[in-house]
């Protein structure tokens, strides 16, 4: 059974790694620092669904740093799906996400974004280490993830929201960690993201 130590910001997970986990670990091992956010976090903790992309945030870097990383990524069997030139990719990264995948296999891919907003900064600064045997990954704090997933769900009627994958992701994470998460912190993000009306989907 997984063990979550909120004070240490650490989760011990004894799962069998999926091919998706291996891809994410291989990619993340090439990075100095990062935080995984959004759908993959739910999948890592058992959500039974596939995905086309894995969202990842990294701190701002200079062009020489980016160029070095670009080469490292390409030397290790990945390629950029969105850009073929390093300078274009670097420019694009300032405003948008760029995507990397295993060479010749565009999906699933890693959606790679620079940390910009306060929510991004919070995710990175309070990231949780998930230890899986010899491997580990850094994920966004669960309280923020749950609120963010509720926020991501498309606007719509209750009937439409009921089958939204983001609502399902939020509910899954909440059900798994409800005894361990910080409810006050969850409410802070629920209020900041103005999704109080969507709280009912967690219960």
């Amino acid at each position: 059974m997984m063990e979550y130590y909120p004070d240490k910001k650490e989760i011990i997970l004894d799962r069998e790694l999926s091919n998706l986990d291996r891809l994410v670990i291989d990619f993340c091992n090439l990075l100095d620092s990062y935080v995984l956010v959004s759908g993959y976090v739910s999948i890592l903790f058992g959500r039974s669904r596939g995905t086309e992309d894995v969202d990842l945030l990294i701190p701002l870097m200079s062009y020489p740093q980016f160029n070095k990383l670009w080469l490292k990524i390409h030397e290790n069997g990945f390629e950029c799906v969105t850009n073929s030139r390093t300078d274009d990719a670097f420019e694009m990264l300032k405003k948008h996400a760029i995507r990397f995948s295993i060479s010749g296999k565009p999906t699933p891919n890693i959606e790679f974004k620079i940390i910009k907003t306060d929510l991004d900064k919070y995710s990175f600064g309070n990231r949780i280490k998930v230890k899986m045997g010899k491997e580990s990954l850094f994920i966004s704090p669960l309280e923020m993830q749950i609120a963010y997933k509720l926020f991501l769900a498309a606007d719509g009627t209750d009937e439409e929201l009921m089958s939204d994958k983001d609502i399902e992701d939020a509910r899954h994470l909440y059900k798994i960690f409800k005894d361990k998460i910080n409810k006050d912190e969850l409410l802070i993000f629920i209020n900041k993201l103005n999704v109080k009306k969507r709280l009912k989907w967690l219960k």
Binding site: E16, S18, M162
Partner: protein, 62 residues
């Protein structure tokens, strides 16, 4: 069975709407069931089952 033409198909939207709601409710129920399963079984056990779904979409790589 006689081959039907698309224009002859009658759709009861009220019935379809009920089906949609029921389907979504069942999905939420399954999420609760699966979360309970995860919490009461070893990580190895639930992940083995989850991997059947994930690995069927993502073949072994690298």
């Amino acid at each position: 069975m006689v081959k039907m033409k698309a224009e002859d198909v009658k759709v009861d939207l009220e019935e379809m709407k009920k089906f949609k709601v029921e389907n979504a409710r069942e999905r939420l129920k399954f999420i609760d069931f699966w979360a309970d399963y995860i919490k009461t079984h070893s990580d190895k056990e639930w992940s083995r089952q989850q991997n059947m779904l994930i690995d069927s979409q993502i073949p072994e790589n690298l």
